[in-house]
């Protein structure tokens, strides 16, 4: 108990310096936590996707469609429970800044396949009955203040023209990992208008979603599906939803890596700052260490004193930083909800933050301790200031 008191007293002998160092660590741990959360948000789509669902798309690339006639052939494959389909609509609400995912889907089967989208029964029925109806996530509704029954117009970038939709349902996520900013409407409505205006593009879907009986069948079923359409006009590429989402992430991997690298650099920066503080502290107290040595305390005691003090400083700063991460993440998540629909702090991030603070405390004490322990008593006593 006494040593703890001594450590605190020592640490706060220079209130200004210690205060500044703690502030520095708080900022560093805060930045570290936020950067890790950004990286986690990048992978949110992968985390939220299921391994028992498959996505079939055109083998050439995502921008090429598949004929609607594939649906029945896919349904015949052994191990397939349900098949749904949809098209990426790519519409814009008012202007490009208001980005949110919007897709035309086969409503009934799609929502059945996604139990994580929780929609009240009455709203589901209302949506299925209305050809122009759409369902949107809770966050999206809140952002644009849409009310049930409102008409919302999207401008089509891929499918030209203005498109009107009526809000019929609001879904909420089953848990925190579900994206609550999606906009879903009927594929039939899209197809009907496309038929009238651009007949060449009609009866095409962007992707098929396949629900499996058992997740273990994923590999067999994807090979079987791709086999059926081999050498056809539209060859397919089937993979699990996880792999599909991962594909998007890996295309922007360079950015994720950069953010990750930077999150470690911030730890190095703060390491330099804390090491500097400790170096100065020990330089000033060389005389005291010499006195301690004269009294018979060994190198181990001096090590405990310096290391303990360094840890007291970094752990206080680390704790403050972690506490502050929560309100900061909430604020940033709100601001960047366009880019990152899901932005929450993982337990792992908190652990890593604590670990980083601990590590900084230990590493920062190494050099100063070596100096203090190695000093000769007579030399230490002779030195002034």
């Amino acid at each position: 108990m006494l040593i703890l008191k001594l450590l605190f007293r020592n640490a706060f002998r220079h209130k200004l310096r210690t205060g500044l160092t703690i502030l520095g660590i708080t900022i560093a741990i805060l930045a570290f936590g936020l950067l890790r959360t950004v990286v986690a948000a990048w992978y949110a789509g992968v985390e939220a996707s299921s391994a028992s669902r498959l996505v079939t798309r055109n083998a050439i690339s995502l921008i090429f469609p598949l004929p609607i006639s594939y649906k029945d052939k896919i349904r015949q494959v052994e191990g397939v429970r349900t098949v749904s389909y949809g098209t990426w609509f790519g519409g814009v609400y008012i202007n490009e800044k208001n980005f949110f995912p919007n897709m035309a889907v086969e409503g009934e089967s799609f929502l059945r396949m996604y139990p994580e989208f929780v929609l009240p029964d009455a709203e589901l029925r209302a949506f299925l009955k209305d050809r122009k109806g759409f369902v949107a996530g809770r966050k999206l509704i809140a952002k644009f203040k849409w009310k049930m029954g409102d008409t919302v117009a999207l401008k089509g970038l891929i499918f030209p023209g203005d498109w009107d939709f009526v809000l019929r349902g609001v879904y909420r996520g089953r848990d925190k990992t579900v994206d609550e900013t999606q906009f879903l409407f009927h594929w039939d409505y899209l197809n009907e208008r496309v038929k009238a205006r651009m007949p060449g593009w009609a009866n095409q879907v962007g992707f098929y979603m396949i629900d499996l009986n058992r997740p273990e069948l994923a590999a067999d079923v994807s090979t079987a599906i791709d086999g059926i359409f081999k050498n056809s006009l539209a060859e397919t590429m089937t993979e699990t939803e996880k792999a599909f989402q991962m594909g998007f992430v890996s295309m922007t991997e360079a950015i994720v890596m950069a953010i990750q690298a930077v999150s470690f650099i911030v730890i190095f920066i703060i390491m330099a700052v804390v090491a500097n503080t400790m170096a100065m502290t020990t330089r000033e107290r060389i005389g005291e260490y010499a006195v301690l040595k004269t009294l018979g305390f060994g190198g181990r005691h001096i090590l405990a004193l310096i290391l303990g003090e360094s840890l007291v400083i970094t752990l206080i700063g680390g704790a403050l930083g972690i506490v502050l991460t929560y309100p900061a993440a909430a604020m940033i998540g709100h601001k960047l909800s366009n880019f990152f629909p899901i932005f929450h702090i993982e337990a792992e991030t908190v652990c890593l933050g604590c670990l980083a603070a601990l590590l900084v405390g230990i590493v920062a004490a190494i050099l100063p301790t070596r100096r203090a322990v190695g000093i000769r008593i007579a030399e230490g006593l002779r030195r002034i200031g």
Binding site: I27, I63, S250, A258, I269, A272
Partner: protein, 388 residues
């Protein structure tokens, strides 16, 4: 009278460990600051240089990119008859109807696929892009299943090298040429005959029409004529503008990321400098008293300590820039959010970035040093001398 410059310099030298640690922290901040600016500069340079100001890109109204756009043959032919189109050396019209699609190709190092732009070119396409130079092999012949690949495709994608074949659209395509398009986005593209590619992809429509203006100043008139034509639903942009628009979102993203990170990091480094300078002042209380007793003014002491902390910042800035300049050896490839396709670009160090980074490091030194220096200059002679 001013305190000699060497006083500040030697003070830093005496406390080497502290100096190295403080300057090292600052160097890391400057490194991050410069690296992110270099990245944004590289991206913008790549996309801006892709276009030339005399060229006009025509795409379907409302579609932001060539990939999303579609022009049917009739519309494309109407555009081709525009009177302002420049003529080539043999009297041919410098206009090309092109098709642009994305295909996903696996990379060489890991099997992960990325979206690559494949462009169907017409006879005039190469003449319209003077940046494109053939490095190896030859141009693909019209009417054959031959393609040529940009330099950064050839190295990074499976089957992208000279003499290799790629399979898509139910056909094998042989790579007969590798082209270098300098620092432009074309380097991340594959080019082949437009009619063959439209066949293979079963796409009955063109993506865009590109032409060179006879007189670059006529652009506004041409644009008004094309966009007002009742037979067309198109928009026309200068090629430079078209590519700048495509880099906007990415560049903004990088800039916001960079500024946020730098502000947070520099807070840490400023705190580091402040700690160092406060310690320097309190360690030298007696010294400061002596200097004042010798007749140096408060202003001189303030200047000496500020000089010391500016020096710290300067050392950090130089170190950071030194390491950041090595980043120019790296090429980054990532997906452009707006076009959804792979784009390779490198870190680019410009004079502007050097000045910004150095100025920034001096500012950090100044901010860190100003409070401690004020404290030093305010000391009373007697009190300072009395302290041990």
């Amino acid at each position: 009278m001013a305190i000699p410059f060497s006083y500040s310099l030697r003070n830093l030298w005496t406390r080497r460990l502290t100096t190295v640690l403080t300057a090292g922290g600052m160097a890391l901040v400057v490194f991050v600051f410069a690296a992110i600016l270099m990245l944004a500069a590289g991206l913008q340079q790549t996309l801006v240089e892709t276009g030339s100001p005399d060229n006009v890109v025509v795409i379907r109204k409302g579609s932001m990119t060539e990939v999303q756009s579609g022009l049917d043959r009739q519309q494309a032919s109407v555009i081709e008859t525009e009177a302002e189109i420049a003529l080539g050396p043999e009297g041919e019209r410098l206009a090309a109807k092109e098709v642009v699609v994305l295909i996903s190709l696996p990379k060489r190092d890991r099997d992960k696929p990325a979206n690559v732009v494949i462009r169907g070119i017409a006879a005039a396409s190469v003449a319209l892009r003077p940046q494109v130079r053939l490095m190896e092999g030859r141009l693909p012949r019209a009417g054959s299943a031959e393609i040529m690949a940009g330099q950064s495709i050839a190295g990074r994608f499976k089957g992208g090298g000279l003499g290799e074949t790629l399979r898509f659209g139910m056909r094998d395509w042989r790579i007969v040429g590798i082209f270098d398009a300098g620092n432009t986005g074309f380097n991340s593209e594959i080019w082949g005959d437009v009619d063959q590619l439209m066949q293979a992809f079963r796409r009955p429509v063109y993506s865009s029409a590109i032409f060179r203006l006879r007189n670059p100043r006529a652009f506004e008139a041409v644009r008004a004529r094309l966009e007002g034509d009742p037979r067309l639903t198109v928009e026309a942009k200068r090629e430079t503008r078209y590519y700048r628009d495509q880099s906007e979102m990415m560049a903004t993203f990088l800039r916001i990321l960079g500024i946020t990170l730098t502000i947070i990091f520099s807070l840490g480094a400023v705190i580091g400098a402040m700690i160092t300078m406060y310690a320097a002042v309190s360690n030298r209380t007696g010294e400061i008293g002596t200097l004042r007793a010798l007749g140096f003014q408060r202003g001189s002491i303030l200047a000496a300590f500020l000089m010391e902390s500016l020096l710290l910042g300067f050392i950090g800035g130089c170190l950071g820039l030194f390491f950041a300049s090595f980043m120019q050896l790296f090429t980054v490839s990532t997906m452009n959010f707006q076009t959804f396709s792979e784009l390779a670009f490198s870190f680019t160090l410009t004079a502007d970035i050097v000045w910004k980074a150095l100025g920034f490091s001096l500012l950090m030194g100044l901010l860190g040093g100003v409070l401690p220096a004020v404290r030093a200059s305010r000391m009373e002679i007697v009190d300072a001398l009395r302290e041990v």
